[in-house]
Symmetry: C2
DNA sequence: TCATACTTGATCGAATTAGTCAGGTATGCT
DNA sequence: AGCATACCTGACTAATTCGATCAAGTATGA
């Protein structure tokens, strides 16, 4: 299980947009340079984000992209759904289609685990909003910590300080 | 993000073994028939489970496989690590190797989210044990619900629930 | 009207997944 | 001992998904 390159790139692009002053925009070209992602790929990502209603675009010369709503109103879960279609694919959906019957029979003890796992992952990502990723202070993740409080008792999140 | 076929098959095989009477074994052939998974694939899975210390094997005619320890002592997290090597791959590990530098710079707000997500997924799967999957659905569901409840409220799990 | 910037969809190599295949080795039963 | 049963090992491969790239547009503002 992992975060794909697509989600990672999309997140970085969204964080860039979230750091803009109100009214400002960033062109796809600029985003490509800033994040070191090819122009074509940036275009594709922005397109999906726009269709998902997460970014707004201004066309023409001096045009560009900006967030479609407040960064506090955009969750990573939404972002993932916008670029990948879904956050977590259910096992039973995947392995039983058409002529095949779901291998999880009645009285199945396995299915609830995958369901619950999916709900948990989605619940987590839906509660992490973009504004939490743009601030350098440890105040980020307050909502996240509330969601999974006591999971780790030693304290708050340390932001990355490497290199 | 999804559960792979490998993990799904492995889980079903382990649940079969968990439902055996103490001392009993199931041959790879039998498991293959019961779960409708090819004999070769079952062999491969059982081999990985054995190397991970989750199943024990008895060789020779009338031999077979059984759990290496109590089903209450085997978690799905362990199972996943045994068959796939890891539960959740870190983004920074994947996208920054050798000559490439991690794109998550200092004061990165993104990395902690992926780290936390990974910890959560692993924490969840490490606490779901095989014995919780061998019972009819309502009880298994109750067990996973209990996990979430404990997870949110106390950060720890009750393993010795009365029947 | 033209440069800039966004839009769309097809394509494609690389990596991963999902399983197969071939050829062993160990054990228990007769 | 002989041999059938069953486990063990690792290489191999087809299918799918990932991670982009590419080509050919359309819309807008100066």
């Amino acid at each position: 299980m992992r975060i794909t390159s697509l989600v990672e790139c999309s997140t970085r692009i969204m964080v860039r947009l979230a750091s803009l002053q109100p009214g400002a925009t960033l062109s796809a070209e600029k985003l490509s340079d800033l994040e070191n992602v090819s122009r074509d790929y940036v275009d594709q990502i922005l397109q999906r984000l726009r269709k998902g209603g997460l970014v707004a675009s201004t066309r023409g010369a001096q045009g560009g992209y900006s967030l479609a709503k407040a960064s506090s109103a955009i969750s990573i879960g939404e972002l993932v759904r916008a670029v990948e279609g879904q956050v977590f694919e259910e096992v039973c959906e995947r392995y039983s289609s058409g002529e095949h019957e779901c291998r999880h029979m009645s009285n199945c003890g396995i299915r609830p685990v995958w369901l619950r796992l999916g709900e948990m992952i989605e619940g987590f990502l839906d509660k992490v909003t973009l504004d939490q990723l743009t601030v350098p202070e440890p105040r980020a993740f307050a909502a996240t910590m509330a969601f999974i409080k006591d999971f780790e008792k030693e304290g708050r999140i340390q932001h990355d300080k490497r290199r």
